[in-house]
Symmetry: C2
Subunit: 287 residues, 2 copies
Amino acid sequence: MRADPRLSINQATIKHADLATALKATADAGVQSIGLWREPVNEVGLDTATKMLADSGLRFSTHCRGGFFTLPAGPERDAALDDNRRAIEETAVLAAAGAAGSTAVLVLVAGGLPEGSRDLIGARERVRDAIGALAGDAKAAGVTLAIEPLHPMYASDRAVISTLGQALDVAADFDATVVGAAVDTFHIWWDPQVLDQIARAGREGRIATYQVCDWKTPLAADVLLSRHYPGDGVIDFGSLTRAVIETGYDRDIEVELFNADIWADDPARVVARTAASFGEAISPHLR
Amino acid sequence: MRADPRLSINQATIKHADLATALKATADAGVQSIGLWREPVNEVGLDTATKMLADSGLRFSTHCRGGFFTLPAGPERDAALDDNRRAIEETAVLAAAGAAGSTAVLVLVAGGLPEGSRDLIGARERVRDAIGALAGDAKAAGVTLAIEPLHPMYASDRAVISTLGQALDVAADFDATVVGAAVDTFHIWWDPQVLDQIARAGREGRIATYQVCDWKTPLAADVLLSRHYPGDGVIDFGSLTRAVIETGYDRDIEVELFNADIWADDPARVVARTAASFGEAISPHLR
């Protein structure tokens, strides 16, 4: 089976592969696009990574990730903002090196409550402030910042932005080419407002990336690692994918799997299985 | 320290205590109210349980629990509805036996996706239908059905109602004395709409019960057992409790803890610790 031309392998799906292995496994499987993570890119250095990406012939769909914006004012927060500026630059350079159709999207994870804090509303305000501080850099670099709402089970320790509607409310202060949202099925499938908010995101031009993976219980003991191949769980990919496509979304669609069993598997086999599951669970809804 | 007069011990907090032990531990600690579970009540039989409750001098705050409404039409669903009718009767009888100020509230957990189903929207419709089928029985018995939104991490296997707003949307079809909502901090603290929805619930007369317990990460390996004493986690009980009190809510406030360590502890010690943590984390916001 040929891989769907819109599939992009998010590098986290083959977390233990270095950049060379990830690019090769993706291209060898006939997949046309990849989303990269900062750590393996910086392991070889941005210049080398850029050349490797260009040589691979793959499109570049997203860079993961920036964010972690909830710290109060101070040197730690300043350092985090500076690090996000480097991530914006990396995103622009990599997107320019990818094959035609690459997109310059930096995925942002908001960050959780600072240690000892119970001020959820304040933490959310600091996310908004941080995006305001970075919007000019992103615009200058031609990069879209994609606010990713994470599942509410991560609200305290990872992301104080929990719903697509909330991400869109934050993004609303900014130009849609500069600040959008990441629509990831795993995080938002349960939301009673999800179809309305996807339609709204489309109307507002804010769907910066669409990512698919499945939800299944019991959750892994480390709930961060509970993501499954599309089709292996209970998410109705038909209604969600059609809602995204009906907005006119025409970019790549990533599969990003955090799962210890998948990470322990051979990268080539994981990419092949990802392509097959995407073909069965997602592709029928793209036509 | 005297226990707060509004505190009610939900029996699940001392899960392994039988009814006699639970009533005694609660009353001995100077707590004035208790929420009961069906299993320990039915273990001694409703008549005996009713007499025991009356003899305890405690108020009765809620009965736990009905629901599990997402099955498709058929004998299993019919049996579930009949079981809910028995739960409604139990609730009425127990509330009449409790001390003055008891409330006839049956907490409903919606139920998860049926085995093999991905039809979340259909499951939610069946919840609405089931409540419609039971509303007449509840009204006749003078019982309020409290729809409990559960945290979205339980959406697939336990409750397809995930937010307070969604619970209120379902309740809106019914008289507010017959169908309300359970406001449980653990389940809804993360919701960006939570304060607005608490205010709405108050305006609509739908806060059937207010329950407090805390959220802390890492979550327990069995995420069902991740509930903590108020004050041990990250929930801002001030803003949530004040929002509830500002609606005019004047009933008991339950603490319901699912937590293996707490269940392994001595019931008298657990009740004392619950009363102390309530006094520190909740009582200051009730004035």
